[in-house]
């Protein structure tokens, strides 16, 4: 299904509704710090990638505008096992970057089905992650997100998450939140 096929009738709309609600639920679990429930929504072969963005010429923007996940330095480029380590770190109570606890809201919007190859669905969306910390420390992480979801007997799982954060220099002091 090409990205232009947005008129496939009620089945497609039902699918979009279903996967969107899944993404929103997932966002709520993160913002409510229900990390173990959130981890259950990630497939065992989950891969989380956030490449670095770079200032390049217009002609190169599509090929050299970001570092390559899988071989170059990224903000994140890791399997589920590393994500689990991050969750464990948050729970230690001495992870100072998130002590005291930040206030975080994940907004997911512009959700669109890009491809269906059952039981997997490729989605395109935008993310806005807002973090407020201590008092006046406020960060906005905004960009584009590509997710691959898989329908299993145990419900939907996220298989692949690839995010393009719209910053070259990170304007926040750290990335101690999941994008």
């Amino acid at each position: 299904m090409s990205s232009a096929d947005y008129s496939m009738g009620p089945d497609r709309w039902a699918l979009l509704q279903e996967v969107s609600e899944f993404l929103f639920t997932e966002a709520d679990l993160l913002d409510e710090r229900r990390y173990n429930e959130w981890l259950d929504l990630l497939a065992d072969d989950y891969q989380y990638s956030v490449p670095l963005r770079m200032n390049v010429e217009y002609a190169d923007a599509d090929t050299r505008g970001e570092t390559k996940a899988g071989s170059e330095v990224c903000w994140f480029d890791e399997p589920k096992s590393t994500v689990e380590l991050r969750v464990m770190q948050l729970a230690t109570g001495v992870h100072w970057a998130e002590e005291p606890v930040s206030r975080v809201s994940h907004l997911v919007t512009n959700v669109r089905i890009e491809e269906v190859s059952w039981p997997e669905v490729k989605l395109s969306s935008r993310f806005l992650v807002y973090r407020n910390r201590v008092a006046d420390e406020t960060d906005f992480f905004v960009g584009r997100r590509k997710d691959t979801l898989r329908k299993t007997d145990d419900g939907w799982k996220v298989v692949r998450r690839y995010l393009l954060l719209d910053q070259t220099v990170l304007l926040a002091k750290n990335l101690s939140v999941f994008l």
Partner: protein, 505 residues
């Protein structure tokens, strides 16, 4: 000491009604007066005073050897990498003949940044404003970076513009140390190798392959860049020898275990049977400001990995390195973390990484981080290191995240008017320094505590910020007066022991 030097204050007819603040002459001992080496106290003004920051920009950064980038970032003719040196944007470039240049990234006509790309390849930088162009092709211009094209040359300048006088400003001193490219704006500055001194052993361990092959390393593509709301010196000091913060600051990551040894093992993957942090890791402090968290005799082998194929590579690398260095009569230690004065920090082990703290204001810094790998590392080793580096360092790294929290909130809590009245405490290990075999260096007497490195760093810092000339800067660092103090103290201690009858002659 402040002196009214407003040139017009006596003769100016409006002097009585003039609201323009008079210029204050700078106290020539201003910076040194803020660093009390005797009692180990350093004024918070060093970190938060705008005037001090301005003096750093003027007197320290344009006279220091600064890390600009890695030669493997610009392997081919025409390759460039955009970087910073203190307050100024620069381009690290390679010309047609393979020469490495550092150029001020500012058009000589109206100052527009001629290149706003992070990296790329071009033989010509053309300014977007009025299209003055500068060539990296030495066959077209006298020296790469010289002015080549000027629109309407004949009409606008009657053809008389002296193009050779208006090239991009070239940094006069550039030194490529095994791929690490440093530059210094001051043509009178001491030569790179003199500036570095015996600290070069740490640079060697950074730049050499894990098996000791000289300079056989490269950087991964992708430089982490992020902003923090704190002074650049917090960053330099953290890597200079502050092993004291690890247990508290990094308690969470220590509890998890993200290193080579896997869960439940030490963060850096030290082999448990070889001493680890607790023995032998005395710090090294150089008179000229450089400092390392360890010493050359701290010869700890590469970590024990969970993955057998990783052990295969690193066991072999360690054996080869040991053989090579033994033959040269070199010690095997010296992996840092360390800081080369003033703002380049690095670690030469696990991870192996370079950090530069670019100053923006007294309370804002842009931090850059590069990661290195052996050129010859097989794919699985490269990939393991890449994954480890990303989960360890930078703003997303599970270790470094917590450092920024400290630096930013230390800044917030320190910059208040009342807070600035109270100096920071740098008394750790004061008067307990130990002798070193290295030139103009001493060691701490303890692996974790000991702020001797920081004291020497701020001492050198104050000498630069007070704008001592190069003759004096070199002269006062020709000997290390700390060594005499140690010898005197040891003699007194020995005499006291004899007097107390503890020693039988």
């Amino acid at each position: 000491m402040t002196t009214n030097i407003c040139p017009s204050s006596e003769t100016c007819p409006t002097s009585e009604t003039c609201n323009t603040p008079t210029l204050q002459a700078v106290d020539p001992h201003r910076a040194r007066s803020l660093v009390d080496l005797e009692t180990g106290q350093i004024s918070r003004e060093v970190f938060f005073n705008q005037e001090i920051f301005d003096l750093e920009m003027k007197n320290l950064f344009p006279r220091s050897w600064l890390f600009v980038g890695h030669a493997t970032q610009i392997p081919n003719p025409g390759d460039y990498f955009s970087s910073w040196m203190g307050s100024d944007p620069v381009l690290l470039t390679r010309d047609v003949d393979g020469g490495v240049y550092v150029l001020l990234n500012s058009c000589r006509h109206r100052g527009m940044k001629v290149c706003r790309y992070d990296e790329g390849n071009t033989m010509q930088f053309t300014c977007p404003y009025h299209a003055w162009s500068y060539s990296m092709d030495g066959s077209l211009v006298n020296v790469p970076g010289d002015l080549f094209g000027v629109p309407h040359m004949k009409a606008a300048y009657s053809g008389k513009l002296e193009k050779q006088d208006w090239g991009l400003v070239r940094c006069p001193k550039v030194y490529n140390y095994k791929g690490l490219v440093f530059a210094n704006w001051d043509e009178n500055a001491e030569d790179f190798l003199d500036y570095v001194g015996d600290f070069h052993w740490w640079l060697d361990n950074l730049a050499d392959a894990f098996d000791g092959t000289p300079g056989d390393t490269e950087v991964f593509h992708g430089v982490l860049k992020w902003r923090i709301k704190s002074n650049w010196k917090f960053v330099s000091e953290n890597f200079l020898g502050d092993t004291y913060h690890g247990a508290s600051t990094h308690a969470s990551v220590e509890a998890i275990g993200i290193g080579p040894g896997g869960r439940g093992k030490r963060r850096h993957g030290e082999r448990q049977d070889q001493g680890g942090h607790s023995t032998g890791r005395m710090k090294t402090s150089f008179r000229n400001g450089h400092g390392a968290s360890d010493n050359l005799a701290y010869e700890i082998a590469y970590p024990e990995f969970v993955e057998p194929e990783m052990n295969e590579y690193f066991d072999q690398a360690w054996a080869t390195r040991k053989e090579r260095l033994d033959a040269e009569g070199r010690r095997l230690g010296g992996r840092g973390p360390a800081t080369m004065f003033p703002n380049m920090s690095f670690a030469a082990g696990f991870p192996r990484s370079i950090l530069v703290a670019h100053p923006i204001s007294p309370t804002e810094t842009e931090v850059w981080r590069w990661f290195l790998t052996d050129k010859k590392a097989p794919e699985h080793v490269r990939e393991w290191l890449r994954q480890y580096y990303m989960r360890y360092g930078g703003p997303a790294g599970m270790t470094e995240q917590d450092d920024m929290e400290n630096w930013d909130y230390a800044t917030q809590a320190s910059k208040g008017v009342v807070a600035q009245r109270y100096p920071y405490n740098y008394q750790q290990g004061l008067g307990t320094e130990q002798l070193s075999e290295l030139d103009r260096a001493v060691h701490s007497n303890h692996a974790i505590s000991g702020e001797v490195n920081a004291r020497a760093f701020y001492r050198r810092w104050s000498e630069f910020v007070d704008n001592l000339g190069w003759d004096e800067l070199i002269e006062i660092a020709k000997s290390d007066d700390r060594i005499e103090s140690i010898i005197r103290r040891q003699a007194e201690e020995a005499a006291a022991e004899v007097a107390a009858g503890k020693v039988n002659n």
